[in-house]
Amino acid sequence: MDFLITILQLIDGTIRVSTPLILAALAGLCSERGGVIDIGLEGKMLGAAFVAATVAYMTGSAWLGLLAAIAASVALSLIHGFASITHHGNQVVSGMAINIIVAGLAPTIGNAIFHINGDTPPLPHAARFTAIDLPFAASLADVPVIGPVYSGVISGHSFTTYLAFALVPFVAWMLYKTRFGLRLRAVGENPEAVDTAGVSVQWLRYRAVMIAGVLCGIAGTSLSTSLGASFIRDMTAGKGYLALAAMIFGKWRPKTTLLACLIFAFTDTLQARLQGVELPVVGEIPVQFIIMLPYALTVFLLAGFVGKVVAPAADGEPYIKEH
């Protein structure tokens, strides 16, 4: 029974940790399915985290923080779009530029406003997206099997976490079942064909990067107002790149991407639980080894399990109309 409870706690932690990863990976997926490489996930998330924390602190409302963060993140997306769609610039360079600009700009502005080392002050409880207890969570807690699963794992996450999981089927539906999704996929595979059909390639790609902006905005908000309670320098700590890796593992498909994000989050949670625990046979594993686990797993998966990974054909190719 103890073992089962540990498993449930691990799953609970995994769901929490995976939130920003899922959102950012979906953002990358939407953008790259439309043919625009988005290495700037990290920067957009960081920018959104900063704006969300700042606005939530100043207004006392997490919702306003979320809206402002989405606006900021979309603005960064548009810069990326302007450079790489309108002006056919190199998409990797433009995305990297966003990462570097935000990493410097956010703490600088933060320092100018709050004078605490580039961070934002801790948010009061009311200005955060805190754990939501789903209906009947308390009363069902004692029911065997369903109780621990429902109230321990499914209930008690924040709004952004539920939103992240809800967005996976939504993005899948949008990509595969709507006309917009079909065109979006087409523009990432064969923009000439889309252009021939009389649909604007540029406008489609702009919409793709804006969707990525919205998703990164939510991801950043979840970092600074839900998982954490303030903006801290470099708080994304490589999650944007990890999301990019998850998207590639997931072969640019929403459901497999979700799975990849969950695997990453699970190893992260697992390593937290394994520290200082006596395991049968092997005994206590050194901390350094445990911290290495997620990275080792990445290499292992990439080498052995994922199989052939094919990016959208026009991913990263600027579309230049021939006259």
Partner: protein, 333 residues
């Protein structure tokens, strides 16, 4: 033309040099270099900053400070301050040990102070704290507050210094409840572990899921994530270095305060008054270097009975009746 420019250039350099030496006779030129946790980490570095501020208010001497953003800046920062004729440089944190061992002989006329580590050079004052003694006391408080038998510890970077906190804490817990379990996690193994509150918070949540009722954070800036997680869960946490009781009143049980502020202040003062001496200081409960914090934010959490017990143990540690194990004494064995 080029020659003229050169001459002007040289003259300017000469004048700056002269001005530099002229200034040295005036007020004390002090510099503070923080660790990677950053100046306002509400903890260790902030305590050093407060000490320097105290000095500035009392004597009116301005000081300069610097926050490195990566390890390669450690040496540059020390070199820059030292070569500009700074009288005394305080480096905050054990990470400076290697760099200072190299730089102190290079600038024999500059006085150095290093916190949390020892550098054996005639011009270096090494200030270390007996964190294990303070941690013992907060461990006792944690054990007395917990209804069950599990408490937690979240460290920053996995280094002997943090293990020292942990060992003292564990002994304090076991002093009250010999069978209690102390869960332990480290945030990371690189200096960035001092500034990763999200991961530290997740570690604390993990410990609380496993039953920890009180979590002690010895993790610099990352500790804020632990305190936040405990406050969110309605559990208790223990702050470190600075008094962090005010951060989440009602949830922060107490703080293991390390009087870095007083140590910095005293060092700067002695340099100003001309009796600065290199050497090594070990500040414990007896010297007032470490203690547990009791103020208006946590007075309702600590009962009279708990306070009496802790103060009794404190007296016994000072008199030598209770010996708290120093991790540094056992780590190589």
């Amino acid at each position: 033309m080029v020659h003229k420019l050169m001459r002007v250039f040289l003259a300017v350099i000469l004048m700056t040099l002269l001005a530099g030496t002229a200034l040295a006779a005036g007020p004390l030129k002090a510099a503070l270099i923080y660790d990677m946790g950053g100046k306002f980490d509400k903890s260790f570095n902030e305590a050093a900053y407060k000490g320097a501020e105290m000095f500035r208010k009392e004597f009116g001497d301005k000081y300069r400070d610097f926050e490195p953003t990566n390890e390669t800046q450690y040496e540059q920062a020390i070199r820059r301050f030292a070569s500009r004729g700074t009288d005394i440089i305080v480096v905050v944190g054990f990470s400076y040990q290697g760099v200072l061992e190299k730089m102190a002989p290079e600038f024999p006329d500059t006085k150095f102070v290093i916190i949390d580590s020892e550098v054996k050079q005639p011009n270096v004052l090494s200030i270390q704290f007996k964190e294990h003694e303070g941690s013992f006391l907060v461990g006792m408080i944690a054990a007395m507050k917990a209804k069950g038998d599990t408490v937690g510890f979240v460290g920053g970077m996995d280094v002997p210094l943090i293990r020292k906190f942990h060992l003292g804490y564990e002994e304090g817990v076991h002093y009250v409840k010999p069978n209690a379990k102390v869960l332990m996690n480290m945030t990371g193994t690189t200096p960035s572990a001092w500034a990763d509150p999200i991961r530290a918070g997740e570690l604390a949540r993990g410990q609380m899921d496993r039953g920890a009722e009180v979590v002690y954070a010895a993790a610099g800036s990352s500790g804020n994530g632990v305190l936040q997680a405990a406050a969110d869960a309605g559990r208790f946490s223990i702050g470190v270095d600075s008094n962090q009781n005010y951060l989440h009143p009602g949830s922060v049980l107490t703080s293991m305060v390390k009087r870095v502020d007083l140590a910095v202040f005293d060092a700067l003062k002695s340099a100003r008054e001309g009796h600065f001496k290199g050497g090594s200081l070990h500040l414990g409960l007896k010297e007032g270097g470490v203690d547990y914090a009791l103020d208006e934010y946590n007075k309702d959490l600590i009962t009279e009975e708990m306070k009496a017990k802790v103060d009794d143990a404190k007296a016994k540690i000072i008199s030598g009746e209770i010996k708290v194990t120093d991790y540094f004494d056992i780590m190589d064995k």
